[in-house]
């Protein structure tokens, strides 16, 4: 078995590849420490419109407008932002049938050093289930890029928001 550790993609590179493979061409972002390498990659991609927003709920609105303009939108965010977005996801995306890919850094789980992240971290999967928002997790042995493509396909076919939850151990996975 050959080892090619030096060329294996980083978590951010895998996520970015998934975004490109899914054909995402419009991204809004609210930062998270786990997204600090990914956001510049998106910003430098000439075929993706990227704008930072002030709050995730605002980003849900901007992405809905982008979809109406023919784009495939995604939001880069921390899971705390789900709490800031619930009404918009329900009374805009779910109401009209507008797809959105939410790529979420999932804080407050295994390895979390900040206690304030824990309550939302634990609530995040439950909130998504309550809202009937499908979510996807990076599975061992599966290319994260493939999960992102799959998630966008579900959003697009079912015309609804979907989430990809990328927890702390995912971001620590080293090449």
């Amino acid at each position: 078995m050959t080892q090619s550790l030096s060329v294996a993609p980083t978590p951010s590179e895998s996520t970015f590849k998934g975004i490109k493979d899914a054909g995402i061409d419009f991204i809004v972002s609210v930062p998270c420490a786990n997204l600090k390498e990914l956001i510049p990659m998106v910003d430098e991609a000439h075929d993706i419109i990227h704008l930072p927003v002030t709050r995730e709920e605002e980003g849900v609105g901007v992405c809905a407008g982008a979809y109406m303009g023919g784009k495939k939108p995604a939001m880069l965010m921390q899971n705390s932002g789900l709490g800031n977005s619930i009404n918009a996801l329900a009374s805009l995306n779910m109401l009209y049938g507008i797809p959105l890919l939410m790529i979420m850094s999932h804080r407050g789980v295994e390895g979390e050093p900040i206690v304030a992240q824990v309550p939302m971290g634990e609530l995040t999967p439950k909130l998504l289930e309550t809202m009937d928002i499908p979510y996807f997790l990076p599975e061992k042995g599966v290319d994260p890029a493939d999960i992102i493509v799959k998630a966008w396909n579900v959003a697009s076919e079912q015309k609804k928001p979907v989430a990809v939850l990328l927890p702390i151990p995912f971001w620590r996975r080293q090449a």
């Binding site: 002030t54 709920e57 609105g61 303009g69 784009k71 918009a88 805009l92 009209y96």
Partner: protein
Amino acid sequence: MKRIDAINEIAAKAKESGALLIGNIGIPCKEIHHVCDVPTNFYMLGSMGLASSIGLGLALSRPDKKVITIEGDGSILMNMGTLATIASQEPDNYLLVIVDNGAYGSTGNQPTATSKNTDLAAVAKGAGNKNVYVVANPEDLRETLRSTDKGIIVVKAEPGNTEAPVIEMTPEVILKRFMDISSQPSR
């Protein structure tokens, strides 16, 4: 002037210039629908505060089209960050019209902060927007609409609603007929 006077002017401008028009939640949408129902109108039925954001996303996605959003003072106060995000992008094809009547008009005209000390034009400027206009009568609004397709117009109005009927279209139909035009490149 009342909000309906502003809506009359803005709907006429949208029609003339072929702009896509995003309407704010509540009675404003009903009034737009009543004044001039065309497929290039998108009516918001929920998510208060996000009309300005929807318009921004649309304008950035379709630089080949003009986009106008009608917002209220209450909505802008609920999503004030939008003024900073719009300033950071400055799209040439995006005009945000804030009808400021100092009241939450759809819920019983409770006063908003703009009825006291908040100056939305100053907030918009402070957020970094260069093209900010303030008008207080239909003639000045018409003139300003004639002279620009971008920036932010704050229309000072009095509280008061018309008896515009409920929009009977389903959300799916509103979106479908709008997107048949909004998602396609202009010829």
